[in-house]
């Protein structure tokens, strides 16, 4: 269920603005890869190009190649809708559908893919996805209550359950803990560690300790000056990035000298 991602010479533009310059990297399957860097350096933008969510913004386009197990996402005949069914995403702020119950939220993606599933299969899938997101025990007695009634951390795990219910190959997380308290953050981090058994996980975070705690490899993004495109400065094992970075900018950033 988990696949590798190869990015080659990727440039990202918003209209005339060159947002991210010339990224080449390989993301291993069954691992957690973290992107760190100062605000505005393009790490979230880059993350969104991995499931073509950047296209939601008018004028956004990319040059280069993103391949998932050799299949280029930007090949002419590829439908972004299919890409997003393979590459799930969890957002900065928890966003369960407010008009749906907890169970309907989990099944939202499955229903979209226009598959009819029986009541029993739906129950089993709900339980499996919620267990997968470490949420089952907290919500099993109120599956028909609205998802927006949960706490922030529970909502975020509900969103993760919703993402894994459609069995994606890759899960992207865009600062998934930035709106959460430390206890909920811990719960999500534990979950990320479990998810990497089955999925390729890519996470953007502002929290360097978090990157150090959860990831196997870390990419450091930076930009030379405001208005200049962001770029991937260094990409290595998390161990090396935090203990023995090869670039001065990386060392300055992780030791807190800027950003």
């Amino acid at each position: 269920m988990s696949k590798r991602i190869d990015v080659t010479d990727l440039d990202i533009f918003y209209g005339d603005f060159h947002a991210v310059k010339d990224v080449t990297m390989s993301i291993e399957p069954r691992s957690v890869t973290a992107f760190i860097g100062p605000s505005g350096c393009g790490k979230s933008t880059f993350l969104r190009t991995l499931n073509r969510m950047h296209e939601v913004i008018p004028g956004a386009r990319v040059e280069g190649e993103v391949a998932i197990d050799g299949q280029n996402l930007y090949a002419r005949n590829v439908d972004p809708v299919d890409v997003r069914r393979q590459v799930g995403m969890v957002f900065q702020r928890p966003n369960p559908f407010p008009t749906m119950s907890i169970k309907e939220n989990v099944l939202a993606g499955v229903r979209l893919n226009s598959k009819r599933i029986s009541g029993k299969a739906a129950d089993e899938l709900t339980e499996k996805a919620l267990r997968g997101a470490n949420l089952w025990n907290e919500v099993k007695d109120r599956l028909d209550k609205p998802g927006s009634g949960l706490s922030g951390g529970q909502q975020q795990r509900l969103c993760i359950a919703r993402a894994i219910a459609i069995q994606p190959e890759v899960i992207l997380m865009d600062e998934p803990c930035s709106a959460l308290d430390p206890i909920s953050t811990l719960a999500i981090e534990d979950l990320i560690n479990e998810l990497k058994v089955d999925y390729t996980v890519v996470i953007v975070t502002h929290n360097m300790q978090q990157a150090a705690r959860v990831s196997d490899k870390t990419g450091f993004f930076n930009l030379e000056a405001t208005g200049k495109p962001g770029e991937l400065v260094e990409y290595d094992t998390t161990q090396n990035i935090f203990n023995n970075p090869s670039q001065q900018a990386t060392e300055d950033y992780i030791s807190g000298r800027f950003g």
């Binding site: 499931n51 969510m53 939601v56 809708v81 299919d82 997003r84 069914r85 799930g88 995403m89 957002f91 702020r93 966003n95 369960p96 559908f97 407010p98 008009t99 749906m100 119950s101 939202a108 993606g109 979209l112 893919n113 209550k145 609205p146 927006s148 009634g149 969103c159 919703r162 993402a163 459609i166």
Partner: protein
Amino acid sequence: MNAKAPATPTRRDRGSARAVRRPGDLFFSGASVGSAVLILLILAGVALFLVVEAIPALTAPTEEISGGRGFWSYVAPLVFGTVVASLIAMVLATPIAVGIALFVSHYAPRRLGKSIGFVIDLLAAVPSVVFGMWGMAVFAPRLVPLFDWLEKYLGFVPLFADASSTGRTLLTASIVLAVMILPIITSVSREVFLQTPRLHEEAALALGATQWEMIRTAVLPFGMPGVIGGTMLGLGRALGETMAVAIILAPGVFTWNLIGNGNSTIPAEIALNFPEAAGLRLSELIAAGLVLFVITLGVNLFARWIVDRRAEFSGAN
């Protein structure tokens, strides 16, 4: 306001636990409470007027009422005409209005969407008497072929029994009403669709939703209370619309036939007869107005109930 100053410093100290009463706050709270009370007074006044003036008609002997079979027999066909015309208008207008609103908010390029929204709002500025004239002189004759077709192929349904040769029928009035209530439903729907949180739209897209599936999962459920609200505003306008219906419809006796001559609505009946009415006839018309008032109130309560029923799932918490 208390004119007496606090007697002792200690009392003033204790008083500081209460909110300080500033003149500006007092003025605005007074003004808003006053407005709220005023609207209730006006509503109560209207209701009182209708009830008091309607009592003679409601209590009069059966044979003295127009038609000679009592007030309820007199008003029932009018209620039928009013409700049926408004419902048809609502059923015709709502899907189109929601479609336009979705196009403007989610499909059209921003500038095109804005100009279309502007044109729709202009439609709301057309006076109803103009709609009435247009409906009678231009639209009604052009509907005659449609009515003939309906009679030919659906004539076995009592609703389409006998086609009118002038086209001035209840169905024509309904269609014109639909055009008239289109703008209000469209604007309200467009506003709520535009307020759909981007976060929810992206959540749907990230699950692999197509544009339409995204609208179905994120936009429509979020906007549903607003669409219902807009629809009820439109229905309210259709129920009370007087001029257009009075001009288009060739009023007549009650018939199930929607495409033939006959039928009338409460507002049209009142408008056409009120100037010459006196005594019991006047009371009859006012009683009919009271019935319309009650229907409109019921429609609004029903709409409120629908919106509140799902309040737990509205996302407001």
